[in-house]
């Protein structure tokens, strides 16, 4: 296997992520998403948010490495992704993020050869310790 299953359960250091307005706008613009909740702070405030709202896939910008897990980036394919939220992320949030290896397993590829699957989950809490989001990624090493 390209990743030692012994890494299952290992976690990253906790990383504090500060959610900035500019980062939200740049991310929304790159997607071509002009939802005013993501780009217009006055509009977001009018609708009950303290600042700009982050798009649902925004936590992909939070890179939280797990030291025991190493691979060559260009050999990696993204297999699946899930986000769940207790509330939307907004600019000004400071989120304490920890990443953990949930699973490592091997499957036969469609064109033969074995592929290694790596499943990781980032949990993000606010500074009061309330869970805000989880992000579960499945990546495939060819």
């Amino acid at each position: 296997m390209q990743i030692d299953p012994a890494v299952i359960g290992s976690t990253s250091e906790a990383v504090l992520m500060e959610v900035e307005k500019g980062a939200i706008r740049a991310f929304a613009h790159a997607i071509g998403d002009e939802n005013p909740l993501f780009t217009d702070e006055a509009y977001a405030r009018e609708h009950g948010y303290s600042s700009l709202v982050a798009p649902p896939t925004f936590p992909t910008t939070f890179r939280v490495p797990i030291p025991q897990v190493k691979f060559e980036l260009s050999r990696v394919l993204h297999g699946g992704q899930e986000y769940s939220y207790t509330r939307p992320i907004v600019a000004g949030d400071v989120l304490r993020c920890v990443n953990q290896v949930l699973d490592v397993y091997e499957r036969e590829g469609k064109q033969g050869g074995k592929m290694t699957f790596l499943v990781t989950r980032v949990k993000g809490e606010d500074l009061d310790g309330q869970l805000v989001f989880t992000s579960t990624s499945t990546i495939i090493l060819r």
Partner: protein
């Protein structure tokens, strides 16, 4: 933005108005790499893409998921938020592709709407497919 949806009028099984995205450009992939922090060169450098056996650069899977996030957020509007978004990446997406996001209502329960949603290039062939939950304000 499309008009606000009256969710009390929308029934399970209903297909929602699709979102058609403009063609993906190489500049968009550069912007997305920068904004997301995903600097895997298979998305922005042809040489690297070919070295790993791809026909050319491919779009970030997360960009397609971002389109579905845009679509789901647009459906929720200001009535609520996207409380869950889950996808599987099945097919590759290339610069120049015009993608359409489609959704169908699969469940309605108190203040939650479940959707099945996918991204297609040709009709009926899902490249990225998954589910979303919209949580509406009471």
């Amino acid at each position: 933005m499309q008009q606000t949806i009256d969710w009390s009028e929308v029934e399970v099984g209903c297909e929602l108005e699709p979102l058609v995205k403009p063609a993906i450009t190489k500049v968009q992939l550069l912007k997305y790499a920068g904004a997301s922090g995903d600097f895997n060169l298979i998305h922005t450098d042809v040489e690297t893409a070919r070295q790993v056996g791809l026909p050319g650069t491919i779009a970030h899977g997360m960009l397609s998921m971002g389109f579905l996030g845009q679509y789901a957020s647009q459906l929720a509007g200001t009535q609520g938020f996207v409380s869950r978004l889950q996808v599987r990446f099945a097919g590759m997406v290339f610069p120049g592709d015009v993608l359409t996001c489609r959704a169908k209502v699969t469940k309605k329960e108190s203040n939650q709407i479940d959707l099945e949603l996918f991204v297609e290039r040709e009709p009926g062939k899902a490249l990225t497919s998954g589910e979303a939950t919209l949580t509406l304000r009471p």
